[in-house]
């Protein structure tokens, strides 16, 4: 357990989501469309095994060519990033982690993905979206304080909530999952939570207490189930597992 002050935990308006994003546009444009469609100010997103391309000298607003040169294409094995709406309706990718490979192996030596990156076909994206509000955060832009309870919270060192209502709703830290935005946890949570057991592998490992941390309550399971409704409704096990 790291240092952890419940006073610094702020429940925020957030929602688990899944969506299908267009390809072909620069990724920042694609993600701006996603945020607008879902009415989020920012989002923590995950993409798995998606074909990508980066075409040299192609203006960001120009159409993609009819035929793709194999040297310009590759595959994202996984990508976790925070996408944030900018004032002019564009989107910036604030930070992210990814593993990928290019068909042009020489490009794999470069350890960053370019700003001009595009998805080569539409992709399935899921994550946690954050509603825009007045609370300024370092990692997620301006987020909205939860009015009632929320299963998502931020641990924010040195937070000053004096501008906001004094009754900040409770957030149950004991039963929560927590990341200092560690991509592996995030990916595993999304990919295995539906199939495997919940949360027990995750402990409140809070680092040195000076970073912003994202907390998601285990009770989220209910929301997650609602979101995917009856994904496993036709296996006998999941019928047993659906909460009454």
């Amino acid at each position: 357990m790291g240092c952890f002050d419940p006073v610094n935990i702020v429940p925020i308006e957030a929602r688990l989501f899944e969506d299908c994003v267009d390809g072909y546009f620069p990724l920042s444009v694609t993600l701006a469309h996603l945020l607008q469609r879902q009415c989020f100010g920012s989002a923590l997103i995950a993409i798995r095994v998606a074909p990508m391309m980066d075409i040299p000298n192609l203006e960001s607003g120009a159409p993609v060519p009819l035929h793709i040169n194999p040297l310009y294409s590759g595959q994202i094995d996984w990508l976790v990033a925070i996408a944030r709406m900018q004032p002019l309706g564009s989107c910036s990718i604030v930070s992210g982690w990814a593993q990928w490979h290019w068909n042009d192996r020489a490009r794999d030596k470069v350890s960053r993905l370019p700003h001009s990156l595009r998805l080569a076909e539409p992709a399935y994206v899921h994550g946690i979206g954050f509603v825009q509000g007045h609370l300024r955060t370092r990692s997620l832009g301006r987020v909205k304080l939860a009015e009632t309870s929320s299963c998502v919270a931020l641990h924010m060192p040195n937070i000053d909530l004096s501008d906001f209502s004094t009754d900040v709703p409770q957030f149950d830290t004991v039963e929560s999952l927590c990341w200092s935005l560690n991509p592996t946890y995030f990916l595993e949570w999304f990919d295995h939570s539906v199939v495997g057991s919940w949360g027990c592998r995750y402990s409140l490992n809070l680092g040195n207490g000076s970073e912003e941390l994202l907390l998601v309550e285990k009770r989220c399971e209910v929301i997650w189930r609602a979101l995917i409704s009856d994904t496993r409704a036709y296996t006998k096990r999941s019928f047993d597992a659906v909460p009454a």
């Binding site: 299908c20 267009d22 993609v64 294409s73 076909e121 036709y234």
Partner: protein, 409 residues
């Protein structure tokens, strides 16, 4: 618009290829039981391999490698006395299930069969058939998981009487209504599509919002790696595999499963034999005769002008893309949701087999394959607020009234 390298990766199925390895981890339909009435052995051409199916002294089915004859076409059924079994060739496990001989061409132990309706139903309630498509298996599969295409490709400009619709797709009325499916598909061409990943693959829901706060709900499924399960009529579902013969040819194998009366196999076989040549099961309408295209029919009756058999429409659409669809020139849209989700599952599986992680594949490893039942597959019309409940209850009702054990709870 993926690169040629990625397209090869997801389409080519020869021995040792990543996609071929994924498919080889699952039971594959290898022959119809009705084919075995010919003298044995019979040729089986599966996943790029030349095989022969015969019986051993104990009467068990045996699938072994056979010698390829000079100038042998890809789709061929040499006479039994022409088939030479390879002495040092492979031997594969075989299982017979409701009219189909399944084979396992992978390493290690074959997985269990899931408890799907087509396998659970009494033999009297399942009719199996197959047909040849001259194209890669993946494009054949992908048309089956696109719920929007039916509103265009299978558009009938007027509705037929549901009488005489037995054994045909899209000819019934919707459960508890007198609205023909053809009417719904034609009038509401832009479904809202929802895709969920499941234990067995994908559950695909197409919602067509109609007038008066009602919604048509059509639930279909992708069963990993290369099957679909879709409603055919109020009484029947179709579970259909798209099985590669080689990279450029495939068979669809279908199990028509009835929740009501026993299947009238004679009627269904006669309907289909009218459209197919034996022993290849090649469709009589094909590229050479322009799929029976008739411009006057197109003016007045159907979208394609290729007759009332929707299989021909699909066959034309997928063969028309070329033997292996050139996905370097493809632009999927967001309505291709299920195809996008499916390719994601496939690419994950390709990675898993390359890492030697078989357990990461759907319905393998620790998965309780035998507990997988269903999948739900029906057409209903509901008040929009309760579409999920209506579809679900209609399925339970059909299961409760079923003569074989179709229970899922």
């Amino acid at each position: 618009m993926i690169s040629q390298e990625l397209n090869d990766r997801i389409t080519r199925i020869g021995s040792g290829t990543p996609a071929g390895t994924v498919l080889r981890h699952y039971w594959q339909p290898a022959a119809l039981v009705e084919e075995l009435h010919a003298s044995l052995p019979i040729a089986v051409n599966l996943l790029g391999e030349r095989l022969a199916l015969s019986r051993n002294q104990l009467g068990h089915w045996v699938l072994t490698g056979r010698k390829t004859q000079i100038d042998e076409p890809v789709v061929c059924y040499p006479d039994a006395d022409q088939i030479q079994i390879l002495e040092d060739g492979p031997t594969y496990p075989v299982a017979e299930n409701n009219g189909i001989i399944f084979a396992y061409l992978g390493d290690g132990e074959p997985p269990d069969f899931p408890n799907f309706d087509c396998f659970r139903a009494d033999e009297s309630h399942v009719f199996a058939f197959k047909g040849l498509w001259e194209c890669n298996w993946l494009q054949a599969l992908e048309i089956g998981i696109d719920p929007a295409h039916a509103s265009f490709l299978h558009r009938f400009l007027s509705d037929e009487d549901a009488e005489g619709s037995y054994g045909k797709q899209f000819r019934d009325t919707v459960v508890q209504t007198d609205i023909p499916i053809t009417h719904v598909l034609r009038e509401y061409p832009c479904p809202e599509i929802d895709v969920e990943e499941t234990d067995y693959g994908l559950k695909i829901t197409a919602l067509r919002h109609m007038d008066n706060g009602r919604t048509h709900v059509r639930i279909t499924n992708q069963i990993f790696p290369e099957a679909i399960c879709i409603p055919m009529s109020q009484e029947m579902t179709i579970t259909q595999w798209h099985v590669p013969i080689d990279d450029e040819n495939c068979y669809w194998y279908a199990m028509f499963t009835s929740f009501g009366e026993p299947v009238n196999k004679e009627v269904m076989r006669t309907q289909r034999l009218k459209e197919h040549e034996l022993p290849t099961y090649a469709p009589k309408k094909n590229r050479l005769n322009h799929y029976g295209f008739d411009p006057s029919e197109q003016k007045t009756q159907t979208y394609t002008g290729m007759g009332m058999d929707i299989n021909v429409h699909d066959q034309w659409a997928v063969e028309g893309m070329g033997t292996i669809q050139d996905r370097t020139r493809e632009h999927l849209g967001r309505s291709d949701k299920a195809i996008i989700r499916y390719r994601r599952m496939l690419r994950k599986a390709l990675k898993a087999v390359e890492m030697g992680d078989r357990a990461a594949l759907p319905m393998q490893g620790n998965a309780h394959v035998k507990t997988i039942v269903g999948p739900l597959s029906n057409d209903t019309i509901a008040l929009t607020d309760d579409w999920f409940g209506v579809s679900y209850r209609a399925d339970l009702k059909r299961r409760a009234a079923c003569s074989w054990d179709a229970s899922i709870l």
